[in-house]
């Protein structure tokens, strides 16, 4: 896993927390990878963690912090899932739902994928 590309996802759930996150992002733009309204992605570092921990201290449940990494579908996703996605995006009728599309093919059903954790 390439830790240098890992990011902290910070999502806020109150107006105060949202404002504090906005302020943090404005003050520490060098840490910010992306801003999305009441959420932000921070480039992972001790400093980013420090900012996230401060928000957590102040706002508790109103702040959610997740450690995320980019998804490499060739490493993290089973081939059958990847191939199903490619085949479905290449379908002829745009209106066909995936569940119907998968019937009678080797592609996994939505339910089968839902119940299978991503290793």
């Amino acid at each position: 896993m390439s830790t240098s590309r890992a990011v902290l996802l910070v999502v806020t759930y109150s107006t105060d927390a949202r404002q504090a996150l906005r302020n943090s992002c404005t003050t520490h733009e060098d840490v910010v990878v992306g801003r999305f309204g009441r959420a932000a992605l921070l480039r992972e570092s001790e400093y980013a963690a420090f900012l996230a921990c401060r928000l957590r201290e102040r706002f508790g449940t109103a702040v959610e912090v997740a450690r995320t990494t980019p998804l490499n579908e060739y490493r993290d996703v089973p081939a059958r899932v990847r191939e199903a996605a490619a085949a479905y995006e290449d379908r002829e009728a745009a209106s066909t739902p995936y569940a119907k599309f998968a019937v009678g093919t080797d592609h996994p059903s939505p339910d089968a994928m839902r119940d299978a954790p991503l290793e």
Partner: protein
Amino acid sequence: MRATFDGRTYRGRALDLRGTDATAAEVARAVRDPDGWLRCRRPGPVHEHVGVLDGSGVNVERALAAAARSRGRVASSQAALDDVRAELDDAAPTVAGLSAARERVAETAADVERLRERVARLGGKVAALREAGADAAGVAGDHREAAAALADAETERLAAAETLERLERAAREARDERARRLRLSDRERRLARAVRAELADAVRSSFERARDALPTGPRADAFAIVRVARVRAPVALAGGPFERPARAAACLDAPVVLVGDAGADV
């Protein structure tokens, strides 16, 4: 109204305190103080905007909305705004113990890791001693003890993970509810703005007419708002442009207390 200031009593709809050292701020405080030296009607929301006419800026839109309310105007979206505010009155849900649960998960995982290493090390030692034909009984006892401690630690770790999972599910729900409240508070702001705009619009033409009829100057907006509003408690007017108190009360259509213009921007 009736005022007792510096041992003198003043009565009427327009009081002239220009001869005293009373300030507009003091009058405004007295208006709000039911036990103060100024006996008068209680001030309404309009007073927050134009209770003191000392030339300081006034937010015309908000003040006009307050003036419209004082005239009994109700905006069409007021009921929707009240509903949203009532919903927002309930406290936002919080989940206690999340931080402690995360800490416990980290601690128990570290314990398991430490004990695993100890069990492996002692197991290796036992094997080496036996291979060398030496007495391994003492170390084997330590090994068994460590293995038992490891089993306990693993149970603890599982329990900690379950607790954290349960709390995270609760936090997920709390955050969904908080997300809903965030949308609601955005809606509250939009509705409040709409209510203000509608109320201000309702009295805007009266306001413009009043402004045309009143003395010009930096306080023209504030004067016109007082005139448009239904004002029962006195407004404090520092300095000019009215010479006679009765004329000020008539022009502003409100009870007034005139004070000296020291420090007023007239």
